[in-house]
């Protein structure tokens, strides 16, 4: 465990102690206190990745633990706060925002704060809600941000007029933009600002806003099933001094089809196109070289009944280089709820074949098996039955 994570353990322990023992019984009645939930997902991982020091050995990991608080601030505004703890990331504020849900003209809603951006279907979801253990490679490679595209800013959204029960929603985000930053490797030339201006050679600490827009539609299929389609686009500055940008456009589709009262199938796919200007230095000034890879994922999840589900995934995404090869990954996953929504076991196998670099043999594929134990306390359940 990293030292900084150890340092933060007392903070987490203190928070857990307050949650478990410190609240008087009246707090559980909800009078005056926000809804409080804890969701954890400790995991057992066996990875064949040759770069992993624990290769081919089962390793326990605390995974990500989330502490969630939510409630109305007043009749118009609802607040949400999510703290998360991860073994390699320490304790931090994952989300903290308010939604103005009424009182504005027409169908306008506003969100302010920090949240997992609504780019596509998976990025806004917390990992415990996903039937598979790992984030898809195409999202990790193309969306800015370490674990997700998660930014501070302001969002305006409206419900657009539509026929029947079809829901058509448009949103625009004005974001802080830090996720879009990319560190440039020094050219080694004496005139390169990275070597001259200590610590801020590319004006990397100057803020530059980013924008994100989304248009989504939901159409009911019968009285319970539905089809969702979405179009997302985000743009931000990846190097302030060079003036280079990153733009991502994505299309997503999800169908949830109920087969019976207790059983349904989810089919979901997203395709992303990245267009990024990579900054460089040629001795006379900044240069820009564009990369434009694309990729997609698709998965199906069959809920056999409220307690059992199984599914499969496939994805392909290009390397973000000038001469892109294709990465590929296949996955199988299954879930079992021990009794009801509060405790679930999720088993996942992922086979990943990295792309070959030009002129080099294709690297070895890696297999990873993950068993997650997802449990929850409070009104926010580990998953929905």
């Amino acid at each position: 465990m990293p030292i900084h994570a150890l340092r933060r353990m007392p903070v987490l322990a203190a928070a857990a102690a307050v949650i478990l023992f410190g609240l008087p019984p009246a707090a559980f009645a909800g009078a005056g206190n926000p809804n409080l939930s804890v969701i954890a997902q400790p995991r057992l991982v066996v990875s064949g990745n040759p770069d992993d020091p624990a290769r081919n050995r089962p390793v326990w990991d605390v995974g990500e633990t989330e502490i969630m608080l939510d409630d109305y601030l007043n009749p118009y505004v609802r607040g949400n706060v999510v703290f998360s703890y991860a073994q390699d990331g320490g304790l931090g504020l994952e989300e903290g925002y308010v939604d103005v849900v009424r009182g504005l003209p027409g169908t306008l809603n506003l969100r302010m704060g920090k949240w997992r951006s609504g780019f596509g279907k998976l990025n806004p979801q917390h990992p415990h809600a996903q039937p598979f253990a790992e984030r898809f490679g195409v999202l990790s490679a193309f969306l800015p941000g370490a674990e997700s595209l998660n930014e501070t800013g302001l969002q305006a959204s409206v419900r657009l007029p539509s026929p029947g029960d079809i829901a058509l929603t448009a949103s625009a985000d004005w974001l802080q933009g830090d996720s879009f930053r990319r560190e440039r490797a020094s050219s080694g030339l004496a005139s390169d600002p990275l070597g001259i201006v200590s610590g801020n050679g590319d004006r990397a600490t100057e803020p530059r806003p980013a924008v994100l827009g989304r248009l989504s539609a939901f159409a009911p299929l019968g009285d319970r099933s539905g089809l969702e389609l979405g179009l997302s686009a985000a743009e931000g500055t990846n190097n302030v001094a060079a003036g280079t940008h990153t733009r991502v456009v994505g299309f997503d589709a999800k169908a949830k089809l109920w087969r019976s009262e207790q059983s349904y199938v989810v089919l979901q796919a997203e395709a992303l196109k990245l267009r990024r200007e990579d900054a460089g230095w040629d001795g006379a000034g900044y240069t820009s070289a564009e990369v434009a890879p694309w990729g997609w994922y698709a998965f199906g999840d069959w809920a056999l009944d409220p307690r059992w589900d199984l599914g499969a995934s496939y994805e392909r995404w290009q390397q973000d280089t000038r001469d892109p090869g294709w990465n590929r990954a296949t996955g199988l996953f299954a879930g079992f709820a021990l009794m009801e929504e509060t405790t679930a076991l999720r088993l996942d196998w992922r086979h990943e074949q990295p792309a070959a670099l030009p002129g080099v043999d294709e690297p070895s594929a890696t297999d990873t098996v993950t068993l997650r134990v997802i449990w929850s306390m409070g009104p926010h359940k580990a998953h929905q039955f």
Binding site: G106, N109, R159, A167, A172, R208, V211, P220, T237
Partner: protein
């Protein structure tokens, strides 16, 4: 700067769009009839009775579905966006309704918590935690299964509808009063019918039927779930077999959305008869609410 200019352009577009939509929403509001959306068919049916031809009624939860677990769909929000009144069950049964109401972006909708004037049963005392299962801290929320509570709900609806449509307030009130009389008559008939049963104890799968039992003189001897929301263990089922045989219980009342294997086991081991009935009526039309109550009582009393 380029990005900021784009953002400002987008913001201006959205502002214009919002104003247009607001104007359109204002223009379409205040139609001829009150548009009412209810969490469940039972409340919707009572609304149809009280509102008569002055209301247009729809419900969110599907007939025969588990009201505890309704998946919030954007299409429900669109439905509520056009509503004048939303009827909540309350007592934390339809907590999902808040998400639908918020998501509807309807700032004018009047939300009525229909549990406001009923007396809840099974209200826990002391601290509630997961050991007691999915217990509702404010009391058992299935109150509509006592028609006398249906009468109280009707009075609430008459008051709410009367505020929104004062010209017809007297009609709403008169219909609610007449419906109350009807509810009490159905309740009395049910109590008489079930009083004739040789064994007046029943088994239920989940505590959905507490109000029906209490109001008609029945006793729920035990539930198939050891605690609400937790599926039965083998030991618990074996204990139930012994209980059924010892007390000569005849009926298991079970909701259609729970699995049938426990009922099959109990039937094989003790000859228990399973009555599969939804706790909610299957239609929003006036009359559906009391017809469903009569059907449940008839199914329990059937030989």
């Amino acid at each position: 700067m380029r990005i900021l200019q784009r953002y400002l352009r987008a913001a201006a577009t959205f502002t214009g769009l919002a104003i247009t939509l607001f104007t359109a929403a204002t223009a379409t509001a205040g139609g001829d009839r009150l548009r009412v959306v209810a969490s469940i068919n039972d409340l919707a049916s009572i609304a149809s009775t009280v509102g008569g031809d002055r209301v247009e009624v729809a419900a969110i939860a599907r007939p025969g579905s588990d009201v505890h677990r309704v998946e919030v769909l954007p299409s429900y929000m669109v439905r509520v966006a056009r509503a004048d009144v939303y009827l909540k069950v309350g007592l934390a049964l339809d907590a999902w309704a808040d998400q639908i109401i918020d998501g509807s972006r309807n700032t004018k909708v009047t939300v009525v918590d229909c549990s406001r004037t009923i007396t809840p049963l099974d209200k826990p005392t002391g601290r509630v935690d997961g050991r007691a299962g999915d217990v509702h801290p404010d009391g058992n929320p299935h109150y509509w299964l006592d028609p006398r509570n249906g009468a109280l709900v009707a009075l609430e609806l008459a008051e709410a509808f009367g505020k929104l449509d004062p010209a017809h307030a007297a009609d709403f009130s008169a219909r609610a009063t007449a419906f109350g009389d009807e509810c009490r008559a159905h309740h009395a008939a049910a109590a008489t019918k079930l009083a004739a049963l040789p064994v007046r104890e029943i088994l239920t799968y989940h505590p959905s039927w507490v109000y029906l039992a209490a109001s008609t003189g029945l006793t729920v001897a035990a539930t198939v779930e050891p605690v609400p929301g937790i599926p039965p263990t083998g030991t618990h089922l074996q204990n139930l077999v012994e209980l059924v045989n010892a007390r000569h219980l005849a009926v298991l009342l079970q909701e259609p959305y729970f699995p049938g294997d426990a009922a099959d086991f109990l039937a094989r081991q003790s000859g228990l008869r399973t009555v599969k009935m939804s706790p909610s009526c299957d239609d929003v039309a006036a009359g559906s609410y009391l017809a469903h109550f009569d059907a449940v009582v008839g199914a329990i009393a059937a030989p």
